[in-house]
Amino acid sequence: MTLALGLLVAAVVLGVGAPAVLCAVLTRVRPGLLLAGWVSSVVLMLATGFASALLFALPRGAGLDGFIGMADSCLNVVRGGEVVGEHLVRVGVAAVLFGLLGWTLLVAMSMLVRYRRWRREHLRLLRVVCRCEGSVLWIEGPDPVAYSVGGRGGAVVATSGVRRLSDRERSAVLAHEHAHLRGRHHALVLVADMVAKALPFVPLCRRAPGHLRVLVELAADAAAARRHGPDSVRAALLSVTSAGTPSAALAMSRDAVELRLAWLSDGRLGARGLPGRMGHVLATALALVATVMTIAAVVAVVAIYCVAVAEGSFF
């Protein structure tokens, strides 16, 4: 019970506290590391929630018998009989947690199915319509537009407008999109969208999509800047957004582009940080430390309370 409670509190602390911490360090940590921080916080929150539900549902050492005993106790509420309060609380909390997790899984699966169907059809059409050169699908279009479709068999798509950019601008645009593919950014954004749709009342989930969408762009900009220099990425951003007809979507992005340009002009951008894999390990380790400490704190509080009660009864 104590451990189950500790895990539950840890899940709540992650869900409510993690976004505050991640926002506080927004300006001091590399986007790649922050990205890993958001994702591992979400995963850890779901994992601790699940572990907690499991421990609440299964009384220690009693296994299935204990579970049946608890169910019996709950039925007694209706049919009259001996009711154990602890059993009611346990079953209630477990039911709520399993309900939330099941709902999340349901929402995630339905989004995944729809996304994969769209992706498959889109990629198939692209492969017929586009000219494939290396890892880039070239599509006809006067405006310079580049995007990427993630997942297995994913692709970078660019218009002939991108082909007409200068060499270094084109390289920067393509490097940016390839960084999205390499970093599995599409999957990360999809996971954020899933949890936000399923659990919008959890701050961590609600705020994940916005942050992740910004962070993947910054991480991809940083990757492109490391390879081709920040100036190339700046030039590419300017060319892509100023060329062609300013559609509603592009006009709206002007503001964001200004900010990305300003961010790129920061000198430290090109500096090498930790390699990507190390970043993930580090962020997960940090989130894990926070989780374990929360669990430990709850267990300690309960233990102290028990000792105090026991001493009270002795003296």
Binding site: R114, Y115, W118, R119, V145, P209, A249, A256, V257, L259
Partner: protein, 119 residues
């Protein structure tokens, strides 16, 4: 894995590459598939494509002649328009180089920037 969609796209490729209307028999001959296909298979695929408005057909004598309803470039342009319209759609995760940002995303970016300037 050769689903119907896969075959449909190959048939479209044949129709686009040919400069003239094609009969089912001709499409069958031009199709490059690992195993030879049945005449009726190709006919069914063309029928499906017709109902999806990808191809036009005209009766010539007792058979139909098929042409692509839109050129390869036109379909490409339509695809691109659809992509630009839906960038930011939560069900179609695609990351667009100069994607539009929501006010929330702009605010987050602004915070990143403010920190850089102050430090």
């Amino acid at each position: 894995m050769h689903g119907l969609g896969e075959l449909e796209s190959k048939v479209m490729d044949v129709l686009w590459s040919a400069a003239r209307p094609l009969r089912v028999r001709e499409v069958l001959e031009l199709l490059d598939t690992p195993r030879p296909l049945a005449y009726t298979t190709v006919m069914t695929v063309l029928d499906n494509l017709h109902s999806k408005d990808y191809v036009r057909r005209d009766r010539v004598g007792r058979a139909y002649e098929y042409t692509a309803a839109e050129s390869r470039e036109e379909v490409g342009a339509r695809l691109l328009r659809e992509v630009l319209r839906s960038s930011g759609d939560t069900e179609r995760v695609l990351l667009h180089f100069a994607r539009s940002a929501t006010p929330e995303e702009s605010a987050i970016l602004r915070r990143v920037l403010r920190g850089k300037e102050s430090s």
